[in-house]
Symmetry: none
Subunit: 443 residues, 2 copies
């Protein structure tokens, strides 16, 4: 294992070579899912993998699988990869690094003639970003049974095209039934998209899971009034109540570290300089690695909203979306830790604050992730930046972890279809409405 | 004078008849300045006034003047009126009552054949509200020399149209030079837009002046970041700083009663659920009856902003507009008092908390205002409500006051152009920029 070393220069060249598919003048990438740019990078990946004698399959929602044979044909493949689509003003690394590091590992293994026991399978998941077709992580979600194929096919882009039509237009509707591709395990390398590794000076993040996340809509109704002649004591200013709730979300998050809380959207009505706001709508995003701690954060929010109702404001809190905490498989997490340590990389165990394909894949296969730093924690931005050395460290850790799992795992192909530790029914829920008014104190 | 009585039913019918131009399902009016709805009500007013044999003139910024001749052609006209434009969710009385009560007075005088010494002139000022084109009181401001025509013409609405283009599009660019229409005096009837008259059970407010007012633009720059993986301690959330400043404006106002402070507009960038806001723009409106107390309120705001800069936020405070405290002409104020007393209406002397066209007109002519109560002090709201009896009391007081001034005043037409008690140099200032950044602590 110590002698197998990925080629950092070759990996970097792959990153730069594919960055032209949708490349922007500012050095970013605009490669929305299932567009011509997406087709171009998919064709490029196909050509590279077929040249490595990998077997290709594409499933019904365009997820791409390239398999390098192992020595034991009865074993299920170990999967590596991520996604190649980007945000409208995305960078060169988000998702892409995970796929191209996987390609680099296939090349390294072929070059050395190294034979793994399990087959090794490179994956490109369709529509991770959710920027063109909402929701995000759609391809991996269908694979994991979170969504069905019909749901995916009927998602509609702003340009009016459906996911299904777009998939066929670029020629990537495969015939492999969605979800039928078994895996012994899945490892995903990704940029952190946050500032923790950089702030702590660590090379590698060993990802233990994905935070529990909930999105809420909060609407505050006061009384609209003229800003001049209305004495302060006689006002019901919805924006003042909103400001207190914005600061409350911060206080709740601060008292439940490492939980976070964010108000990202504010809409003020009527939004006129000389009118006391009568209504304010806020989005609230709460996250915590532990579901029960997120329950506590939510309860505190609801309690304080209840107190506000006594002041004569009408406040409605609706749950818009939720995603429960994901705990990655301990064997996979340990393999990542061992992979980083084998090369002397500094590392820290962290939870992902963002959603990833691996959050869904963890429902049907043992899974973990590897994070590398990105400059300033910046992502979803054309200025997204990770150095060649950081990419190399991530790819080398990924290779080490794969070889570690190849030794320790013993999953038969027939057992690798959603039979391992799947928590069914913990999935994303729809728009749960929970309304409270002063006369109907249900918050 | 005692025998001249306005027709309250006819006045009410005029109010209801014009309320259809921009009428909303909730019983309010959306009649933004220089829109098709504004054109419709202007055409209606023109038709009514021409039927009364009034002479019509329109100036370069769309201010409309309808003059009923007096017995002495050498005297300058006594002006009555207000504005016909509304807020986006405005009511049926704000401004409109003053114009239609003026129309009712013209009708009453014509019916009775009463002849005044001075000509009597009904005025509809353009863009009092400032809701579509900022700043407010633009037409009366140009008339009074506070703004020039070019400044008015180049104001831009959110829809991209300029004031000048909008004025020409509805056909109300007149050829009377702005400011050339002289007045012996101006009396404006208006709803109070506040709760004082209602709380004290008074019929009439005798308005002695207008509060000092200042509008500011406040821009807070933090650092945009992904809401998931960015720990609370590593954030520079512009919205959290904004929320504290919103509450600060409230605290400053509370500690300087009867001063008031309002944040009416909020724009968050990028306004996305899962992005920590990087930039927030707020409007701030501060008012106090005394200029020197408003200076103190502003100083406190700037001091606290300076303290925030130390936290690493870049904050820019720009003065957008200001209007100093206005003291109305004592002869006009006394005429209003006499007009109310003549009919036995209860009254109280008060200051206006809102801006009005009369605040600018007071610079170029003796001026006062008459307030009538509005339900709950509510205005700039579709539920704005004043009874038929209250409208009648206001219109009758206005007629009485006009006749009182017609006897006591003796202003020649040639003397009526900005020569009377004008406080030059106290005017509104333009867009004074006052920028502060952490490295340049000039706030």
């Amino acid at each position: 294992m110590q002698n197998l070393t990925v080629n950092g220069d070759r990996l970097w060249r792959s990153l730069m070579e594919t960055a032209v598919f949708g490349g922007t003048p500012k050095g970013g990438i605009k490669r929305l899912t299932l567009t011509e740019e997406d087709r171009a990078v998919r064709d490029w990946l196909t050509e590279q993998c077929l040249a490595l004698d990998c077997r290709m399959s594409v499933d019904e929602v365009g997820n791409m699988f390239f398999t390098r044979a192992g020595t034991d044909p009865t074993l299920a493949p170990i999967a590596i990869g991520s996604h190649l689509d980007t945000q409208p003003t995305g960078g060169k690394f988000d998702g892409i690094l995970g796929v191209l590091a996987g390609l680099e590992i296939l090349r390294t293994l072929n070059e050395s003639g190294y034979e793994t026991r399990h087959p090794l399978m490179l994956v490109n998941w369709t529509n991770e970003e959710g920027a063109r077709f909402s929701p995000a992580m759609l391809g991996s979600g269908v694979h994991a049974g979170v969504f069905d194929r019909l749901y995916a096919d009927t998602r509609v882009a702003r340009d009016g095209q459906t996911f299904g039509d777009a998939l066929e237009a670029i020629g990537f509707r495969g015939d492999t039934p969605a979800g039928s591709t078994g895996m012994a395990a899945m490892l995903e390398l990704h940029i952190e998209q946050g500032p923790v590794l950089e702030a702590q000076g660590k090379d590698i993040g060993i990802v233990e899971g994905v935070q529990s996340m909930r999105w809420y809509d909060l609407v505050i109704e006061g009384v609209e009034a003229h800003a001049g002649p209305t004495p302060m004591a006689l006002r019901k200013d919805a924006l003042l109540a909103a400001a207190e709730l914005i600061l409350l979300v911060e206080r709740i998050a601060n008292s439940h570290a490492p939980g976070v809380g964010t108000v990202g959207c504010v809409e003020v009505h009527p939004n006129s300089r000389n009118v006391v706001p009568g209504r304010v709508a806020l989005s609230v995003d709460l996250r915590h690695p532990e579901d029960d701690q997120l329950d506590v954060m939510e309860a505190e929010l609801r309690h304080e909203i209840g107190a506000r109702l006594k002041d004569g404001f009408a406040i409605t809190l609706s749950e818009h979306w939720r995603s429960p905490a994901v705990k990655f498989d301990s064997l996979c997490v340990d393999a990542v830790a061992e992979g980083a340590a084998a090369c002397g990389y500094s590392s820290v165990r962290i939870h992902s604050g963002a959603g990833h394909d691996s959050a869904y894949i963890a429902r049907v296969a043992p899974t973990s992730m590897i994070f590398v730093p990105c400059l300033g924690g910046l992502s979803h931005n054309e200025a997204e930046s990770t150095t060649k050395e950081q990419c190399l460290a991530g790819a080398q850790t990924l290779l080490n972890a794969v070889l570690c799992l190849d030794r320790s795992l013993d999953v038969r192909a027939g057992d690798a279809l959603g039979t391992i530790g799947v928590a069914v029914g913990m999935g994303s829920v729809g728009h749960i409405e929970d309304t409270a008014t002063p006369g109907d104190n249900r918050i």
